[in-house]
Every structure is written in C-alpha cells, then in structure tokens.
Amino acid sequence: MITNFGLGVLLGILPAVMLGFGALVCAGVAAVRPRTRTSLYLWVALLATAGSFTASLIELLAVRPNGNGVGLVAYGGGLMVDRFHVFGAVLVDLVLVLTLFGSEVYTRRVPARAGAFCALLQVGAGAAIMLLAQREMVAFVVALTVLVVALTLLTGMTKTSGATAEAAFRQVIAGGVALATATYGMALLYAAAGTTDLAQLATGVSVRGARLDGPLEVVGVTLVVAGLLLVIGAPPLQAWSRHVQESAPGSIAGFGTAVGAVTGTAVLVRFGVEAFGSGNPRWTLLVDVLAAAAMLSGGILALRAGTIRRLIADLAIAQAGFLLLALAATGTGLSGSTVAGTTALLFSLLGAAVSLVGALLLAGVFDAAGLGTGVEAYRGAGRRAPATAAFLSLALLGLAGLPPLAGFIGRLLAAESALDAGRGWVVGIAALSAALCAVAAMRWMAAMYGEDNGEAPFSVRTTPRAARAAAWTAAALGLLFAAFAGPLISIASGAATALH
C-alpha cells in the first residue's frame, strides 16, 4: 500500500484527472477557436482516455502487492483505490472510446458543438471513475451530481427532435429525483449512525454505540437503493432511461445508459457489500423483488417492442434485473463462496455494457442510413446491409443473454450465485425472463432476415467507417469476452475480493 499521502491521492484521482484535463482542453479550444476541425477534439479525448487507462494500470501495479486488493486509502477511508475501482475505471474508459468513435456521425453533423460534446463525455466518464473510488457518502453525492449533470447535458445538447428534448427533460427530472432520494437516504443513515463512512456503517453499530436496526436506518437504506436504481434505470424507475434510449442519438444513448448502469450498479455494490453487509436480508430481499420485477417486466415489454430502440431499452431493463439478481447473492452460499455474486455481477457488467453500446451504435448506423425504427422498416435489412445486420443480431443476442455470448455467461453465473444463496424462486423467474428476451430478440432477427419489404435500398455508408467499426467492435466484444471468460472472471473475482 502507498504510504506517501500526496502521491497516493494524486494516483487515486489520476484517471479522472486525465479525463478532466482532456475535457478542459476540448472546452478551451472550442471557446477560443470555434471552427477547429472536429477530429482534433476526438484525438484529444482519445489521448486523455489513453492517459486515464495508463493511470489505471499504474494503480493496478500499486494494488498488486497487496493480497486484499487495496492499494490506497486516503481521507480517512473516503478515497479507496482498489481492484474494484480499477476494474470499473477500465470499463468506463472502454465505453468512452467506443462512444468517441461511434459519435463521429454526430460531431460531423454538428461541428460547432463537437468540442463541448467531447468535453462533456470526458467529464461524465471522469465523474464515473471518481464515483467508483468513493467510500464516503458526501463524496458520493458530489461525484454523483457531476455525473448526472454531465449525462443530462449530453442528452440535452444533442437533441435532434422534440422527442429528444422531452427525453432530456425527463432525464433532468429523474436525475434530480435520484440525487435527492439518494442524498436523503444518506442523510438518514448519517443521522442513525453518526458517520458518513461506509466502513463504519458496515459494523452495524453507530458511533454512539447503539445498534443500527431502527426504522430510520431501514428508510435510509431504501432511499439510497431507490436513488441508485433510478440512476441505473431499473424498474419501477426506468421510464426516463427508455425515453433516452429511444430518442437520443445512438452513441449518446449508449454512453448514458451504459455508464449509468456501470456506475450505478458498482456504487450499489459498494454500498451493499461495504455498508449494508453482504447477504444481509435488510436489503437483499428488496433487491430480489426488484430484480424479479425488472427481469419479468423487461422480458414482457421486449416481446411487445415496436421499435428497435424500445427493444434495446427493454432488453436493458431485463439485463438490469440480472445484475440485481447477482447483487442480492453476495452472501455466503452452499458452496461457501462470498465473492461469487459480486464476481458474477462484475462480469455481467462487462457483457452488458458492450452489448448495450454496440446495439445502440448499430441502431444509430441504421438511423443515419435513413431506415425507420419500426419492425417493418427493418424487414430485409439483413440482405441490404448484411454485416451491420449480423453485428446488430450479435448485440441483441448478447443483450438477450443467448449463448455463446458474454451475456449468457454473465446470466449463468448470476443464476448460479442466486441458486447457491438459496434463492431458487428468483432463478425460476430469471429462466422465464431469459426465454422471453430470447424470443423478443429472435423476432427482430426474423424481421431482419425475413423477406424484403420492397422499399428503396439504403446505404450504411452514411456513417463514417470509424463509427461503423466501433459499432461492430462493440458487438463483437461480447463474443470475445465469452471466449476469454476465464481470465476476465479471474479479474472480476480479484475486484470482488477487494470489496469483501
């Protein structure tokens, strides 16, 4: 563990600082020279992301000598750099890179806003990375606020229609409610425990020596969980997320929902495991019920989805349910493992993030080609744009959790963890949801590969090659993650161990 406080703090915030610096450069250049080429912003953002990734690797080197996976604890435990943080940071960087390449179609269309757009992307990613390192409730609130504001501004700034404006407005409302709810919850927990440190909260005893089992604490936990679920876009608080995914440009919708899901779930894990206690029925029962609701509602809604965006949004809701299923199974099970649930959740996040980003980017490619979003518009797309349709199918199957993709392995691990933890009834619902999602995805594939609807041909070349490559890569990553599931699960297991 790093003992030099200054060096430690610098290292702890370095990945986010790199992105913040990139954001400043983009914003500064856009302010000083508004007519700068859009590619400059892209390269600056990519360099900043590379710097952030390198900083994460340096953190990993610092963490490596410690068996418990913790490399740095600063500000009385408020800032925690561990393998869990590094895992999340690298995932956020990956989503950012895919989004930057995938956004080229937007930045070319509205070059005047490219600088601000790239800056906001980096600010959002930086805030997410900072949030993953926090173990102190006040710092949580600050980082969460920055993240929510950045994501809301992104949606609002890139509005291309009235529907996008409405989605941005809904996101503002939802973000505000999420922040307020989580903050109230944390305030109640502080009132009950007398501390804002999650580690002290986890002892179950307040700083005054009283046991934490009163109604105040229960309400506090419920509000924190509800606030974070709103950020993730899980039922019953998913309305804003569906609107954003339906209305915003593909890359922005992908970034917002993927980063929201990654960060919200990761924070929920940190709260659940470090503050509420892993396997504690005080919160796992609530999460179980919500997981079942998400899986079922997502599956049923996906069956009725009339547009590709809505299908993706509904599949994402079901996916969020599987994440919650793994989250609730973080306790000790029949096989004695305490990290299996968290490991399953982190690996599922990998598959879910790339599939979600890939599906939305590919839907964006079809959008840009002038194809409609309804199922009729997609009829025959498999013949007219075979490669793009094949990758969209791959992404949809990944979101639906069909083999041999990472989504399937994530769901398998989550189901095993839940079964291991004695939650057979949720696993039954999970199986039903998986079947519903699969049928929904196959229905769209049948449309894509069914008969041509006889409409005028379209060309996906309206989307720049780099953006298409990013979309294809994101979809193909689901397959790659499945092939290398062993090493990736080992990494996820290391990250999970740091929490437990």
Partner: protein, 576 residues
C-alpha cells in the same frame, strides 16, 4: 483480418495435428495390412516416428485422462482434432458473412466454402471412427483425441472446455456431419438467399457437433442452446406456408429445453461437492445427490430432452417444423436434432441420474408406449410425405425411450445404433421428399401415383429408406432393433412387444406409401417428371452406403459404442 487470422490458425492447428493423425492411423493401417498387425502397434518399429501411447492399449477400460493427450514422440502436442471438427464450420460461416452473393460465381464460392467445411468435418470424423473401430475394444476412443482445458476457474465452480469423443459420440458425429454435408450438396442449385441459408446451417452444425463432443455440462448447454437461433431462422426464412408459427414453436421448444437443462444441471453442480461442471469430475468426486434434488434434477433434464425427443405430448413442434421447413432443414431437424436429444437423454438423463431413471422406469415405459401408439395414429393420419416421415420418427424414438426405461448394456447399445439408423433413414427420406415435392409441386399423398415409370431410381431409394426405417436385415436398423428387443424384453415384456409392433405398423405404413407414390398407373400431370439427377444421387448414395455399412459392420461398431456406455452401464449396477 480476423477471418484471415482464424484461417491461419486453423491451418496451423491442422499442421500441428499431423503427427497425431499419423499416430492414430497406425492401428488402422495395422488392421488393413495383415503383415503388420497388432504386435507392430503395441511395439512400434523404430522407424515409425509417432505411435499411440502404450497405455492406451494396455488399459482398455481406464477412465479418460483429465489432461490433454500427448504423443509418444516426446513432443507435447495438444490434440485439436475435435475442435477442428466443431469449429471448421464456424470459420466457414464467418467467411461467408463477408462474401457477396450477387453473381452466380459469387454464389458458387459460398456453396464451395460451406461444402468444404462440412466435408472436412465429415472426413475427420470418419477418420476418427475408423481408427476407433480398428482398435475395437482395445482402447476407449475418447482417450485418443480428448481436449481438456480449464475455461473458467475462479468462480464457485469450474467450467472446462472439455471435448471428447467416445463410441457413442463418434457414431452420432458421423450422422451429423454426413447429413449436413448431404444437405449442402442438396443446396447446390439453390440461388435465393444462399449466404443466409449456408451460414445458418454452418452455425447449426457447430452447435450440434459441439454438443455431441462436450463433456462439460455448461459447455453442452452452450452448444445446445446455440441451436435456437439458426433453427428458428431456417424455418422462418426458408419454410412454406405456416412457417411463422412453426418457427416460433421450434424456437420456443429449443429455448425451453435449454432453460430446463440449465436449471437441472445447475442444481446438480450446486448440490454436488465437485465444484466443477465437468462430467468426469462429477462422476469421480461429487457426493451423492439427495433424493429430492436427484428427482428434481432428473425430471428437469428428462423434460428438457423429451421436448426435442418427440415424446408425446411435447412432440408437435417437430411435426410442424418438418412439414413446413425446406427439405434440407427438415432432414437436419428430424435426422440430427431429434437424435441429439436422444443422445442427451442417454448421456445426461441416464448418466447423471441412474438411480432416478431406474426408479421412474415404469413411468418412462408408459410414456414410450403412449408415444408409440400416438406415433402410429399420427402416421396413418398424415396426408403429406414429410409429415408422415416425421410421424414415423416418433415411433423410432419411443424405442429409444423404452431402452432408457429399461437400461442395460445391450439395450443402450441398441438405442445408440437406433439413433444412428433412424437419423440416417429419416434424413434420406426427407431429402427424397424434397426431390419428389420439387417434381410434383408438393402434391399431397392422395394425388401422387405412378412415379416409378418416370423416376425408378427415386422409387428405389424410397423403398430402401423405408426398409431401413423398418429395420430390414443388412441395414443399420435391423441390428439396432434386435439389440433393443433383446435388452428390453426381459424387463418390460408386454411394452416391448407393443412398442415394436407399433413401430413396425408405422414404418410399414411408410413403406406402403411407396405403392401410392410410385406404383399404379402413370398420371398425366407427372408425365414430364425426371428421375434422380447426378446431383441428387450425389447426396442420396452416401446416406445409403452408411445405412448399409452400419448394418453390415454392426459387429465392429457396437463394441466401440459400448466403450462409451461403460460408465453409464457401471452406474446402473445390477441391471446390466
């Protein structure tokens, strides 16, 4: 780029495999060359660069090794033969995605790639089976080409990339690769949407071959569930009237099977102490399952396979898909996918839950009798060729179910041979249906007749296929039914006689359909019908040859199949 890399990898793997292929060929060469017989294999001549490890011949019934096999040359060469069999078609599918299909030449290229991959898988499988047959019971074939690597280890349980091919697997791999190759040949004249058709079939072949070779429960489920999308799309996109409904039912059936399988397998893994989903680990280190868990697991796994196994009352999807899909896809569904479920029933429902299978033997017997009776009624009620062939397969599979209800070495040997014979004869019949329908514009049975005058060769094939389905001597079905009868009769006498009689009636009805189709006065509307073309002969003859080969060489094949059933038979204890 990735395609090129994959092709390079495949080529490198094949080159790497060459010494092993040579090594495996030694017993085959020894068998066909009297002057250099078994002793030469046991004590290889110094000039032979590679040979089998001595322990393969020295320990005939040894448990499969958990590690990757090596050659005796001192080089540690991992076997990739089974991976090549499984993934050759995937590589071809990836290549096909990026091939255009606008011109005839481009379409020809797509066909060639698909056929080459399927034929390569067939040749490698045949090579492995022949080398195993030449060894006889001297070695368990799964030791020869086993591939075992830990895939996921840092979790509550370990998942292995474990492929092996014992006698049971090899026999069914031959059926799978042969039927797929025949279907690709049959599609040689196809012009419409060739890329999608070939691509989906190639992915489906990967799924089937992978499931057959998988020795890890999770790996098996992954391959098994991979069938869902190709089956759904093949029926949906290349079917006739009513294809939407048939495709949806087929897709849901495969998905439901996979979900039930996964639930059953997870139950076993979680409640065993093995901390692994590998069959070998579960067999050696797992603690016995409690009665409740065992019962739940057995019925979950049994129901999962029963859906694909055309057991009444969950048989309707197969009938619908077979009647609606194109003839090639129907041949794959009835000839391969249904048999895969039969394989799963023997390997997993029986292998993992021998106690429960014996306890519920009577219930399974009743299901077999009901299926057989229903199969007869359905066969007699059908008005189209393809639905009749599909209905006959219900009777064939009820025979296999009867063997599962009364498991012993002889009945299980017969059941596996029945899967092989039924798969080949069904595929042959369904491909013939396609040929006849193409000439008669899919006329119903009662409007057919007198085709023998114009198409005598097709008539001959039809009668031969009907005889094979009936179990005539010298054909594969004969040995299978004989062994089944011998094995099961002692346990369920009346049921055996009833099921055998029912199957004979339904296949007899199929055979008598030849009279309606080919005999009688020639009809004017079929006056311009032509006999089987060279292309059709090209995919019909191999199926016939293998039906005869499995029948004539049953004495050589059955011992090899028996090596794959050793562990299951041992777990059944006193019932052998």
């Amino acid at each position: 780029m990735s395609t090129t890399l994959q092709a390079l990898w495949s080529a490198a793997a094949t080159v790497q495999q060459a010494p092993r292929l040579w090594s495996a060929a030694q017993p085959l060469i020894a068998a066909v060359t009297p002057a250099v017989t078994a002793p030469a294999v046991v004590s290889p001549a110094p000039t032979v660069p590679f040979s089998l490890p001595p322990n393969v011949l020295a320990t005939p019934t040894a448990a499969p090794s958990a590690s990757t096999t090596t050659t005796s040359s001192g080089l540690d060469l991992p076997s990739v033969l089974l991976s090549t069999v499984v993934f050759a078609t995937t590589v071809a599918a990836v290549i096909i995605v990026f091939l255009p299909e606008r011109t005839a030449e481009q379409r020809s290229r797509i066909r060639s790639v698909a056929l080459f991959a399927a034929a390569a898988a067939l040749v490698l499988t045949l090579f492995t089976l022949l080398s195993a047959v030449s060894l006889g019971v001297a070695a368990t074939p799964d030791q020869l080409h086993e591939e075992n690597a830990t895939w996921i280890s840092r979790f509550a349980f370990a998942i292995h990339y474990h492929l092996s091919a014992d006698g049971v697997t090899l026999s069914l791999l031959v059926v799978s690769t042969l039927v797929f190759t025949s279907v690709f040949v049959a599609a040689w004249k196809r012009q419409q949407r060739l890329r999608l058709y070939c691509g989906l079939l190639l992915v489906l072949e990967t799924a089937v071959n992978g499931a057959l070779c998988a020795t890890d429960l999770v790996l098996f489920v992954m391959f098994f569930a991979m069938q869902a999308v190709p089956v759904y799309l093949l029926v949906r996109c290349f079917g006739g009237p009513g294809r939407e409904r048939a495709a949806a039912r087929a897709g849901v059936a495969v998905m439901a099977s996979s979900a039930l399988l996964l639930a059953g397998f997870l139950l076993v893994v979680v409640h065993s102490a093995a901390r692994s989903s590998d069959l070998t680990d579960l067999a050696t280190t797992a603690r016995p399952l409690s009665a409740a868990v065992g019962t739940a697991g057995f019925w979950l796994v049994f129901t999962a396979f029963a859906i694909g196994f055309v057991v009444v009352p969950v048989h309707t999807w197969v009938l619908g898909a077979a009647a609606t899909a194109s003839s090639g896809v129907s041949a794959v569904i009835v000839g391969v996918l249904v048999r895969l479920s039969g394989y799963g029933m023997i390997r997993f429902a029986l292998g993992l839950f021998p106690t429960q299978a014996q306890r519920f033997g009577t219930a399974l017997m009743v299901l077999a009798v009901v299926s057989a009776l229903w199969g007869v009624l359905l066969t007699l009620a059908q008005r189209t060729l393809r639905s009749m062939v599909a209905a006959v397969s219900i009777g064939q599979m009820s025979l296999v179910l009867l063997a599962v209800a009364a498991p012993n070495t002889i009945s299980l040997d017969g059941a596996v041979l029945q899967l092989v014979a039924g798969g080949l004869s069904s595929a042959l019949l369904l491909l013939l249906c396609g040929a006849i329908e193409g000439r008669t514009r899919s006329a119903p049975l009662d409007r057919l007749g007198g085709l023998a005058a114009q198409a005598p060769r097709l008539g001959g094939f039809w009668i031969l296929a009907g005889l094979a389905a009936l179990g005539a001597p010298l054909l594969a079905g004969f040995s299978a039914e004989l062994m089944l009868f011998n094995g099961v009769f002692a346990v369920h006498q009346y049921a055996t006689v009833f099921v055998m009689a029912s199957t004979a009636v339904s296949t007899g009805a199929l055979l008598s359909s030849a009279q309606r189709i080919f005999l009688g006065p020639a009809r004017e509307e079929f006056a311009r019908v032509r006999d089987a073309t060279a292309l059709e002969l090209g995919y019909l003859w191999p199926l016939v040859v293998f039906l005869v080969a499995f029948g004539v060489l049953a004495g050589r094949v059955v011992p090899v199949i028996g090596t794959g059933l050793t562990r299951i038979a041992a777990s059944l204890g006193g019932t052998q």
